[in-house]
């Protein structure tokens, strides 16, 4: 009894209704960044037209309203992730900053020479480089869970890689390059059995299915607003309160302190301790509007739409001669990475672009997993709640055109 009507959903996204290169726009690059519903645009404009002021400071009415909007957004995110407490929600610039924050606070405090940090072969650079930097700073070693040729994690290898030296496991929920959905609940269970905390990169997951951080049991969960149909420059770090409380601050500045003398600084409580400076108010307001929009559509209905479209698209792409899907995990979400004969992905992307079809080509900021597949690059089509079967059909027609040009 799903009331999800994709044609009605499309009406909510003004950007989609335009012609590019003389053709109707077909946007299949939402894994890079998603388009925004009118509700998000309206919320940002309304904030600036009525409520804008700095937060947590003023005694005046506008500051009260702005603080309410900002802290209200925190509560909206809490509900979205089913965190226990709004203090577990820290606003950051995006997934990248969320992971850097954990590496530089939790990591700097708990990781030392000879320790190990465990990640996977399929991580985005944002979940590799902060740990690599931490290793260089502390003398720790980066260990890697391998992937198999379907693009699934080799789970048999995990237990041996979780050692008494492992200080944290950092793993993506959904691979941005392959679409693989990883069993993060099971991985968390195994890591916790050895007392190892877990960070999950949720940049590509929350857009496609409901996420319950208490059910997953993970210690940290990171996401980006702009992939979740919200604005750029806002993201979220969820952290379990008992993990966050003892963590040292990240950046220093206003709002993250209780008192300052030249001799002594008393840091503010969680979450403000991790939010130095005037926060991205319009970002938080816009993100909350995006989440409310998704909740009104129904997270389960969105998941069902995305799952059905993914199945349709997989079959449709497999029908294109010479096309090889890269990443054929049993459970996938939103992402279709592929090669077409020996045509370079950039040439594929350029020809599709002239047909009005936007896809991503390249290494997807995930070079280690591309190295596993011995590919410098792939073409990637990614799906979102506003995509239709017609979009997929246009992609297939475009790919036939590519083959024609290169015949």
């Amino acid at each position: 009894m799903s009331s999800f009507d994709v044609q009605r959903v499309r009406q909510d996204f003004p950007l989609l209704h335009q012609e590019v290169r003389g053709r109707p726009l077909v946007y299949l690059d939402s894994a890079a960044t998603a388009q925004k519903p009118q509700a998000v645009l309206d919320a940002i404009v309304r904030f600036y037209q009525h409520d804008n002021a700095n937060v947590h400071r003023g005694v005046h009415v506008l500051s009260e309203r702005a603080t309410e909007a900002y802290e209200g957004a925190r509560e909206t995110v809490r509900g979205f992730l089913n965190a226990r407490d709004a203090r577990e929600i820290i606003f950051v610039r995006g997934t990248t900053e969320a992971i850097n924050l954990v590496a530089q606070t939790y990591g700097r405090k708990h990781v030392g020479p000879g320790d190990e940090i465990l990640i996977t072969q399929m991580e985005h650079h944002a979940n590799i480089i902060p740990w690599k930097m931490l290793c260089e700073q502390t003398g720790a070693t980066l260990r890697v869970i391998p992937v198999d040729d379907r693009g699934e994690l080799v789970l048999d290898a995990v237990d041996a890689l979780l050692t008494e030296k492992t200080r944290i496991l950092a793993v993506t929920h959904v691979s941005n390059a392959l679409g693989t959905v990883n069993p993060v609940k099971e991985l968390t269970r195994r890591a916790h059995a050895k007392g190892i905390p877990v960070l999950v990169d949720g940049a590509q997951s929350v857009t496609h299915f409901p996420v319950d951080v208490q059910d997953l049991g993970c210690d940290f969960y990171a996401l980006s607003g702009h992939k979740l149909f919200g604005p750029t420059g806002i993201g979220v770090l969820y952290g379990r309160l008992e993990r966050l409380e003892p963590m040292p601050p990240y950046q220093g500045g206003g709002d993250m302190i209780l008192s300052v003398t030249m001799e002594k600084i008393t840091y503010n409580r969680v979450p403000h301790r991790f939010e130095a400076g005037t926060p991205n108010l319009e970002g938080a307001v816009g993100l909350a509007a995006a989440i409310r929009y998704l909740q009104a559509l129904g997270l389960d209905a969105i998941a069902e739409h995305d799952r059905a479209l993914m199945a349709y698209a997989t079959q449709a792409l497999e029908s294109v001669p010479g096309l090889r899907l890269v990443g054929t995990a049993r459970e996938k979400a939103g992402v279709l990475s592929f090669t077409l004969e020996d045509i370079h992905p950039h040439d594929v992307g350029t020809i599709l672009d002239r047909e009005g079809i936007c896809i991503r080509t390249g290494h997807h900021c995930a070079q280690p997993v591309m190295q596993h597949f011995k590919l410098p690059a792939t073409a990637r089509a990614s799906l979102a709640l506003y995509n239709t079967r017609e979009d997929v059909d246009a992609l297939v027609r475009g790919l036939h055109k590519v083959r024609e040009v290169f015949r």
């Binding site: 053709r23 370079h344 950039h346 002239r354 690059a377």
Partner: protein, 153 residues
């Protein structure tokens, strides 16, 4: 206004496709005394250029690496054209090609470019200028004897 389809035909001309499929001088030059590596970090394309320079003249030049049709064709065409040219002549060709792919065929004397004129379609595709110029940047770095890897970024 040309249509998207015409632009594509201009970009992927027969000669370009042919050179990308069967690149000329796809090899390491034996006894090379100049070499450089080029890299486009945005797309991961990499190529190396090796040369044998005798006094002021490029006696032999080859390239190897991976890349899209545009970068392979441009590299292949380049090796054919700069062979037996002086450093100054190769440098002048680089400038012309760069103008051609960034500003279009009206900006240069296309006649003087010979076969390289097939790269003129690139100017309609700003995102692909780096593909077309990677080999040339790398060639220039090899001539100048710069050690550091060349990056289009």
């Amino acid at each position: 206004m040309s249509s998207g389809s015409d632009d594509l035909k201009d970009l992927y001309q027969e000669v370009v496709l042919e050179h990308s499929k069967r690149p000329r001088n796809y090899r390491v030059v034996e006894g090379a005394n100049h070499e450089a590596a080029g890299h486009n970090p945005l797309c991961g394309d990499q190529l190396s250029v090796t040369m044998k320079v005798d006094g002021d003249v490029i006696r032999d030049i080859g390239f190897q690496g991976q890349g899209c049709a545009i970068s392979r064709a441009s590299a292949s065409l380049m090796t054919g054209v700069v062979k037996d040219k002086t450093r100054a002549e190769a440098e002048a060709l680089f400038e012309k090609v760069h103008k051609l792919v960034t500003e279009g065929p009206e900006s240069v004397d296309v006649e003087s470019l010979g076969k390289l004129a097939v790269l003129s379609g690139v100017s309609e595709f700003p995102a692909r200028v780096k593909c077309a110029s990677l080999a040339w940047h790398t060639m220039r770095a090899a001539l100048e004897g710069r050690d550091e890897a060349i990056s289009t970024e």
